[in-house]
């Protein structure tokens, strides 16, 4: 009797895990099916591709996750990535490049550029944080506004032109990779993502700031009466997010070998989708770093599956949109059930 009971509970446990993360499992099954049908899907080169695509998306998702956990959102994420890419691109142009946008600048050290870009990200994040926490504008509206502002400024400073002619060291460093096992490389980007993943795991699990974030998302009044400075915490969350988008933008420009104001468009939705698929609840207070990683990975997997199936790229948007709606609908269902 006892044995069957534990067996049953194992099966029911498995069913529970699957039903709680249906999208993850559906896409994994889809990947296996596609892998069996289409040649080269299970290849090392494809894996490299998947991982380096995931790396940058993961950084953005980490940034936006704090906003989601505190029942907010950050629609300016994509535009902030674009802005950072534009600033990084302009500053990393070769000194002898004819099409230099800011001719008054000397050829700049790319490390210095990184610092500047991060400061710019910090600035935008701070603005968002102040609007949300001090002016009490709902995050959806606040960041809807700032994303438009940021895009406008991106267009102004880039003259709405694509930016190219980067210093070689910038592109080679970022696109560098080690090892080569039958086409499988470890891109540097992966290490960057891993480091940030660990840092965020530490913040979310070990630091006061992380705990305050969960507390605000779970019950903001409880956090307030426990002496948590909710205003400061919210400002920090949006500022941290801004820094992450800046880092992502800096890397993205180098990875693509060019930048433009339209870069990063729609990334906020991908990041939010990744977080939601990975179990970050839009109703607040729930979400883990490993979950976010899985969510982003699965979302990138979806894109690659569509690509391998030869689906018209325009339909990709349709499918991605459907997955986002489905993910949030399933998440909300959990919440409704809880009530």
């Amino acid at each position: 009797m006892e044995a069957t009971k534990t067996q049953e509970s194992f099966v029911s446990k498995l069913i529970k895990v699957i039903t709680r993360n249906p999208i993850v499992f559906l896409l994994l099954i889809a990947a296996i099916v596609v892998g069996c049908l289409v040649e080269n899907f299970f290849s090392w080169a494809n894996l490299t591709n998947l991982l380096s695509n995931t790396a940058i998306r993961f950084l953005i998702a980490l940034g936006v996750s704090g906003c989601l956990i505190t029942k907010g959102t950050d629609l300016s994420a994509g535009r902030q990535v674009g802005f950072a890419a534009v600033v990084a691109g302009i500053m990393c142009q070769r000194g002898d490049y004819n099409g230099r946008l800011w001719k008054f600048l000397p050829e700049m050290n790319i490390g210095l550029v990184f610092v500047i870009v991060v400061l710019v990200g910090l600035f935008w994040g701070l603005i968002n944080g102040l609007i949300v926490s001090k002016l009490h504008v709902p995050p959806f509206i606040a960041t809807l506004g700032t994303q438009t502002i940021i895009y406008g400024i991106s267009l102004v400073i880039s003259d709405a032109q694509p930016i190219g002619g980067f210093q070689k060291i910038y592109t080679t460093l970022i696109n560098g990779r080690i090892g080569n096992v039958r086409g499988f490389h470890l891109p540097y980007l992966l290490f960057v993502a891993a480091v940030f993943g660990l840092v965020f795991w530490f913040i979310y699990n070990k630091m006061r700031f992380g705990k305050y974030m969960y507390a605000i998302g779970g019950n903001d009044i409880a956090a307030e009466v426990s002496g948590v400075n909710t205003t400061r915490t919210l400002i920090r969350i949006y500022t941290t997010a801004g820094i992450m988008y800046a880092v992502a933008g800096y890397l993205l420009a180098a990875k693509s070998g060019g930048a433009s104001a339209s870069m990063g468009q729609g990334y906020e939705l991908e990041a939010i989708a990744g977080c939601t698929i990975g179990g970050v609840s839009t109703t607040g207070g729930i979400g883990t770093v490993p979950g976010i990683l899985i969510g982003v990975l699965v979302f990138e997997l979806l894109k690659i599956i569509l690509q391998f199936l030869g689906v018209n790229p325009y339909y990709n948007y349709v499918v991605q949109g459907l997955v986002i709606v489905l993910a949030v609908a399933l998440d909300i269902r959990k919440y409704i059930a809880k009530k």
């Binding site: 530490f202 070990k206 630091m207 006061r208 705990k211 305050y212 969960y214 507390a215 998302g217 779970g218 019950n219 009044i221 409880a222 956090a223 009466v225 426990s226 002496g227 948590v228 207070g285 729930i286 059930a337």
Partner: protein
């Protein structure tokens, strides 16, 4: 005379347009339990918010003298540093976090950079033991009941090294058993030298636990009653101070009501939990209510009373509902729809007036007509004049205290909100009214008025079902009483035969049987 630990001198606190506290003086001796009583809006919570620094120094007039020093608190942290810890009425816990995480929220153990979870959990376990909880501090708060959550709140306060503990309505969401346990825990802490201030509406609890009782009325301290002696002060004595007059009868008499035919009848009613369909929340319940009758359903929290009422009201709770329902003797198959229930002349007045009952951001007028807009509209267009007239009519009928029916419901006191909620359902012209905790969290005077409304409903031939977890109220208001425990009806009594003891005995026996 014992040492005075806290003295609040001439405290005056003004909000725009209102003087919430007017020259209040309040003294607490070291090592006593001091009760603060008064009607809603009398200023009790405001006074405590001044004390704990939620209203910072400079936003009020007067002095706080604590432990011999004049104090200026700029935020909660300032007062907590001196050991003044307030436990708020609404549970201030984060459900998704563990007990330990909650206890040390804002008060973390360990290094500046990283929290030391080992120390956190071992210290938390220690305090949990002190309040008599055997749970591990690693359990998520959402997985323990409200009674235990309240104890976690107290453990949290102890972890802050509380010397003066303020409990704001600590038992408002607890059943009798948990309430008694909590009060006994307070008495235990008193023995260990802790000083406590308790704010409560439940006067029997105040009389049981407090050494001194301070009555606040209209923003001023009215009197301080000594309750040190062995003779407990009577509830009537406290009420007199609170309302400023003798209240000889807490329950108005119902006169000249003739009880008619059976109007609503349910048989073998079983309701399953929406999430765990194997669990029966209401189990094989049969009941009836007659025209002009007030039927009380008494049960502890979690007995399934609300679930029963909601399942009758258009299946708004539960899945897989089985059983028979008859209205006026005819079997009724009701759809899973609140609108269908209203069509069958049933109204359910929720216990959760702020959450499910009222649109707080809308006016009295809008709320009053919401459940029966058909009556004031023609071809789906609302007739504004009619809507206004209806709201005025009910305002006068139910004595809702407001200058205008355009007033936002969110700005009303609890008692007046409850009246608006009743008005809304009365306007829907039901024959059967299911009232769920109709007097929860409202003050004595307003309670009396609600009771009068219930009597008027019965006199008008309505069938009234009143769910309550306050025994005196059930005994004082009902013609007949059903006793519910763990989803089942375990007893039925005529009001004149029932006593507090006999009802509790029925519940205890049924608990043992299960």
């Amino acid at each position: 005379m014992a040492k005075i630990l806290l003295e609040m001198r001439n405290i005056t606190k003004t909000f725009p347009g209102v003087k919430a506290l007017d020259n209040v003086n309040f003294k607490v001796e070291e090592g006593e339990i001091h009760a603060l009583v008064g009607e809603n809006g009398a200023g009790k919570s405001t006074l405590m918010n001044v004390l704990s620094g939620i209203y910072p120094y400079g936003t009020y007039e007067g002095d706080i003298v604590y432990d011999g020093n004049v104090c200026q608190f700029h935020n909660i942290k300032d007062s907590e540093k001196l050991g003044i810890v307030i436990i708020h009425q609404e549970l201030a816990l984060v459900p998704e976090m563990t007990i330990g995480e909650n206890m040390y929220l804002g008060n973390e153990r360990g290094h500046k950079l990283a929290i030391d979870w080992n120390t956190t959990y071992s210290e938390a376990d220690k305090y949990l033991k002190m309040v008599g909880l055997s749970e591990s501090s690693k359990v998520q708060v959402k997985n323990i009941g409200t009674g235990k959550q309240q104890l976690v709140e107290i453990a949290k306060a102890l972890a802050k090294k509380a010397r003066l503990l303020i409990l704001d309505e600590p038992t408002s969401s607890l059943n009798e058993e948990d309430s008694r346990a909590l009060l006994d825990l307070m008495l235990e802490f008193k023995k260990q030298g802790m000083t406590m201030i308790i704010i409560s509406h439940k006067l029997n609890e105040v009389a049981y636990v407090a050494d001194t009782i301070t009555v606040v009325r209209d923003g001023a301290t009215i009197e301080t009653i000594d309750n040190h002696g062995t003779e407990q002060v009577s509830e009537e004595r406290i009420i007199k101070g609170m309302v400023g007059r003798e209240m000889t009868n807490r329950f108005p008499k119902r006169e000249g009501v003739t009880i008619g035919d059976v109007q609503l009848e349910i048989n073998n009613w079983t309701v399953h939990h929406p999430l765990y369909p194997e669990r029966k929340v209401v189990d094989d319940v049969s009941m009836y209510v007659r025209k002009g009758e007030v039927v009380g359903i008494y049960g502890l929290m979690g007995a399934g009373r609300t679930e029963l009422a909601m399942s009758i009201f258009g299946q708004s709770y539960g899945t897989n509902i089985s059983g028979e329902m008859k209205i006026d003797g005819k079997p009724v198959k009701m759809k899973k729809s609140e609108a269908d229930a209203i069509k069958h002349k049933i109204a359910y007045v929720t216990e959760d007036r702020k959450g499910n009952g009222l649109v707080l951001s809308q006016s009295i007028k809008v709320n009053t007509s919401l459940a029966h807009l058909d009556a004031i509209s023609s071809h789906t267009v609302i007739d504004g004049d009619k809507e206004y007239a209806v709201a005025e009519e009910y305002r006068d009928k139910l004595k809702i205290k407001t200058p205008t029916v355009e007033q936002l419901v969110g700005n009303l006191s609890g008692g007046n909100q409850q009246k608006v909620l009743l008005a809304k359902w009365m306007f829907a012209e039901p024959d059967i009214m299911l009232l769920d905790e109709p007097t929860r969290g409202i003050d004595v005077g307003a309670k009396y008025e609600i009771y009068c409304i219930i009597n008027d409903l019965a006199a008008a031939g309505k069938s009234v079902v009143m769910i309550s977890s306050e025994l005196p109220e059930v005994l004082g208001m009902s013609d007949r009483i059903y006793i519910m425990n763990e989803g089942k009806f375990v007893g039925e009594m005529k009001a004149e035969e029932a006593t507090q003891e006999s009802i509790m005995a029925v519940i205890l026996q049924s608990g043992r049987g299960a």
